[in-house]
């Protein structure tokens, strides 16, 4: 049956990239859901100053929520054994010093691995936040996003049209249609959503895709 992955499906596929002992920062949106599917032993970081925090507080137990314990976008979690808290200076040294994997949402990713994810343009259309730091220093940048805009245009493009977050940093893009690796030769299509052909995915993608010899269906 031909269908696009839903947001949880994208997150689940991206989470397969994470292994026991990895330090991971998850961006706003789809990336946040990766935590639900990640291996035990993956250690999550939030840039406002905690590493190795525990499960999110469920809406059924609001009494467990505490403003001292939430992530960068305000989701409450509970402390866990082995957690550490720290100031933002230290938090961003963690991010910048190449020890972390980040999974980011994006508006666009270019053929060369440029990412645009902080602003839709316009005078006050966006806010810089920590995305430029996250895309800079991490040992691996994974992007999760919908393959196309609401209007059906490609989000994977020759050149980004939105204000850039960082040039040439994305390693892997996971969308509702495909898993694509950024390589020096170009974008390598490795996996396609169930029921989709290479040609159909290519038609919804800006740059020409290289087809992996071992191309397969996205496995969840």
């Amino acid at each position: 049956m031909k269908q696009r992955l839903d947001r949880n499906g994208i997150a689940k596929r991206a989470a397969k990239e994470l292994k026991d002992g990895d330090y991971v920062n998850l961006g706003l949106g789809i990336p946040n859901h990766c935590a639900d599917y990640a291996d035990e032993g993956v250690i999550f970081h939030t840039e406002n100053g905690a590493m190795g925090y525990g499960p999110l507080v469920s809406p059924d137990e609001p009494e467990k929520a505490d403003f001292h314990y939430h992530d960068a976008i305000g989701r409450f979690w509970v402390p866990a054994p082995g957690m550490s808290v720290f100031d933002v200076v230290t938090s961003f040294v963690m991010i910048r010093s190449g020890r972390m994997i980040v999974i980011l949402g994006a508006l666009e990713v270019s053929e060369k691995g440029d990412i645009a994810n902080w602003s839709t343009g316009g005078a006050h259309g966006g806010t810089i936040g920590g995305a430029m730091d996250l895309s800079f220093g991490s040992k691996r940048v994974i992007v999760t996003m919908e393959h196309n805009t609401k209007e059906g245009k490609p989000r994977i493009v020759k050149e980004c049209t939105y204000p850039l977050t960082r040039k040439e940093c994305v390693d892997l893009v996971v969308t509702d249609l495909a898993v694509i690796k950024v390589t020096p030769e170009g974008l390598l299509l490795r996996e396609v959503a169930p029921g989709w052909t290479v040609e159909e995915v290519q038609a919804l993608t800006g740059p020409k895709l290289i087809i992996a010899p071992d191309l397969k269906e996205i496995g969840l």
Partner: protein, 255 residues
């Protein structure tokens, strides 16, 4: 012992002049020195430069939660990585002030922290790798060092730091709780005068030397938050309950 303990927030901010540059950490409601901000509003100084992580519109009334944006009419300049958030109308709330002359300097979160460290250590500038090839580099000097591009960023020094902390002793040795630590420690170091509001003032010796996060030398004034103050455990609890009752907030903040 030199007294650092003030009995009111108004007294603690009484000498802050027009034009002061004030660091006040804020990650929305978390880590915000709400009582000091409220006192500064009451004082009514103007032409302030505010340095903060998160500058968003007031979500609740000032009696419930006071954030840096309550100072908008008193501000000349804002340095922050986060202006507004999409689901609260984006940056619309600052635009009327920008039209009237408010300068907004956006910086990345990590860059702001590095610039505060640079201010504290009295560096003249740092070559920063983040933001190369983006709007962040506009109008700034760039330089290639060992084959990589960097942007020259200026240090941030503060006249005053407002810090929200958990406990302090009378010497100013301070500890935080959870993500309220934020940029409090580096702002305290980058400031000429640091004013800390704490949940609890404790006796000397109660904080273990190994656990001190901000040493007393960086703390000039301490005010203990009274029961009827802002950002008390009770007030924060009430805010959570209120947010939990609002559908979009519950969806955002609960797993």
């Amino acid at each position: 012992m030199r007294n650092k303990v003030f009995s009111s927030f108004d007294e603690a901010v009484a000498d802050i002049p027009d034009g002061a540059c004030i660091g006040m950490d804020s990650w929305a409601i978390a880590a915000t020195p709400q009582n000091l901000i409220a006192a500064l509003k009451r004082k009514g100084v103007k032409d302030l430069t505010v340095v903060t992580h998160c500058f968003i519109p007031m979500i609740f009334g000032e009696d419930k939660s006071t954030m840096p944006s309550v100072l908008l009419p008193q501000m000349k300049k804002l340095i922050t990585p986060v202006v507004g958030i999409a689901h609260l109308g984006g940056t619309a709330f600052v635009e009327e002030y920008v039209e009237k002359g408010l300068e907004v300097e956006q910086t990345t979160i990590g860059t702001m922290s590095s610039r505060l460290y640079a201010g504290a250590a009295r560096l003249g500038g740092i070559y920063n790798p983040v933001g190369v090839g983006t709007v962040v580099e506009e109008g700034k000097e760039k330089r290639v060092i060992d084959g990589k591009e960097y942007i020259l960023e200026k240090p941030i020094r503060l006249d005053y730091a407002f810090v929200s902390a958990h406990k302090a002793d009378r010497l100013g040795n301070t500890v935080y709780k959870g993500v309220f630590r934020g940029d409090g420690p580096v702002m305290a170091m980058a400031a000429d005068f640091t004013i800390v509001e704490v949940d609890e003032l404790v006796e000397i010796g109660e904080i273990d030397a190994e656990h001190v996060i901000t040493a007393g030398i960086f703390v000039d004034r301490i005010v203990e938050i009274p029961e009827d103050g802002l950002a008390t455990a009770r007030k924060l609890r009430e805010l959570i309950d209120e947010l939990h009752s609002i559908e979009p907030a519950r969806k955002l903040m609960f797993g």
